[in-house]
Symmetry: C2
DNA sequence: TTCATAGTTCGACCGTAACCGAAGTATTGA
DNA sequence: TCAATACTTCGGTTACGGTCGAACTATGAA
């Protein structure tokens, strides 16, 4: 009757509150166990198990067994992107969660999206890289330029190792709070990891917020100036 | 319990098959009456009316009264974008509709997305404009350059009139079949309208497919060469 | 004014799916 | 080998929401 792929199945999957909680909890890129996700979603273990097998069947999350634990993570960055897009819609309509805590402000400044940096800091980094021709946009794609490679290496990132992986080096991801692109892909991940390792920032336990250290404030501003 | 906006409500709204059919039917940018949408969705008029008021409450569609008819259209391009993104996910997982007709091939070549051109032709047009610096990307935004303005005017488009409207002149939209950007915004709409007016292409009645005329084939290739 | 068409609201019915607890399976550790 | 932990499966209950038809409202045409 209709044209194009059927979106109702996937949307219905995301549409259940418990499953939406599970997916949201996985947005920070970590892999969590079934029990942890049950806790996050506020349902019993057996219920969560059922949800997780549905999400797995639909390839929205992927399981990884480790001993008697079973860890789940988002299937790929595209899933994360769709979730962010939905958050953007939801935010517009004022459907924000009841509990609007102090963390929300910090989430706007800097947070983890899947496995890379998002929020104002994430967007600033991206725009700074573009403005200096270290990154170049090509349609939806974005590529690291020659000078960009030098910059990344100088930043302490092993590009050769990254390029051996299966995931794309550079990807854009639409930021739901800033409504602009930020950097995803294995490079985006590595940048965040590196900045954490350097003590510029650390993740807030129990939320997706990223907290800047005083040292990090300065270093970040120097490394990624607004132009 | 969770961070960020609540996505389950909106996703659940899209997750009902009847409502998903309604939204998909509106993806071509036209405004349809409640009766037409009931037909599209395969439900009774009273049922469709209920769905439409829910979609309206959530600001996914907007009503416009005209006499004793009530026309519905998608609320904005952001909604269309999210629907396209969901289609991208659904397509990947092979959840394509059972009825994979001959139109599907044509849909990949050229189709209407909201109100602008999508598919391979849409992407080709966008990339050609970018490559010739008629359009310039800036983060998620895209702007018409000076030479781009001349080009658009020469193409028969009244930019001054477009800029009086409330909708942004240039926007990017992610193509679910090509996975690349194509041009949206009021300029994207005007380009499609102009090409239809020139007899380059015409919409297929009853689907979102866009059919190229022989004359259009040549003219399009000349106007938007692959580079 | 009267009739026809478009859409909304209401009431009743029904099916699906979320939920829990209990029993069953697998893996680790003692 | 036995016990504890992590997860899955099953059965039964429940509730939410989609569905239709009928009655009602509003607009336009004759």
């Amino acid at each position: 009757m209709k044209e194009g792929p059927d979106i109702s199945q996937i949307a219905a999957l995301i549409g259940d509150p418990a499953r939406a909680n599970i997916l949201t909890a996985l947005m920070d890129g970590r892999a969590l166990t079934a029990s942890e996700l049950a806790e996050e979603a506020g349902v019993g273990l057996s219920t969560a198990s059922g949800h997780l097998s549905k999400l797995t069947d639909a390839d929205l999350v992927s399981p990884r067994k480790s001993g008697r634990h079973k860890y789940f993570h988002l299937a790929d960055a595209e899933v994360a992107g769709v979730l962010e897009a939905l958050m953007g819609l939801a935010a517009r309509r004022g459907a924000t969660r009841v509990r609007t805590g102090p963390k929300d402000a910090q989430m706007q400044v800097a947070r983890v999206c899947y496995n890379h940096l998002a929020g104002r800091m994430g967007v600033q980094m991206y725009r700074s890289l573009i403005a200096r021709d270290l990154l170049a946009e090509d349609g939806e794609d974005v590529i690291l330029t020659g000078t960009g490679r030098d910059f990344a290496s100088g930043f302490g990132i092993d590009l050769v190792a990254l390029e051996k992986g299966r995931t794309l080096l550079c990807r854009t991801c639409l930021d739901w709070s800033e409504r602009r692109n930020h950097l995803a892909g294995s490079l985006g991940r590595a940048m965040l990891t590196r900045m954490e390792g350097q003590g510029w920032m650390r993740r807030d336990a129990g939320s997706r917020a990223v907290l800047m250290t005083p040292k990090g404030q300065q270093a970040f501003a120097a490394a990624f100036p607004r132009l």
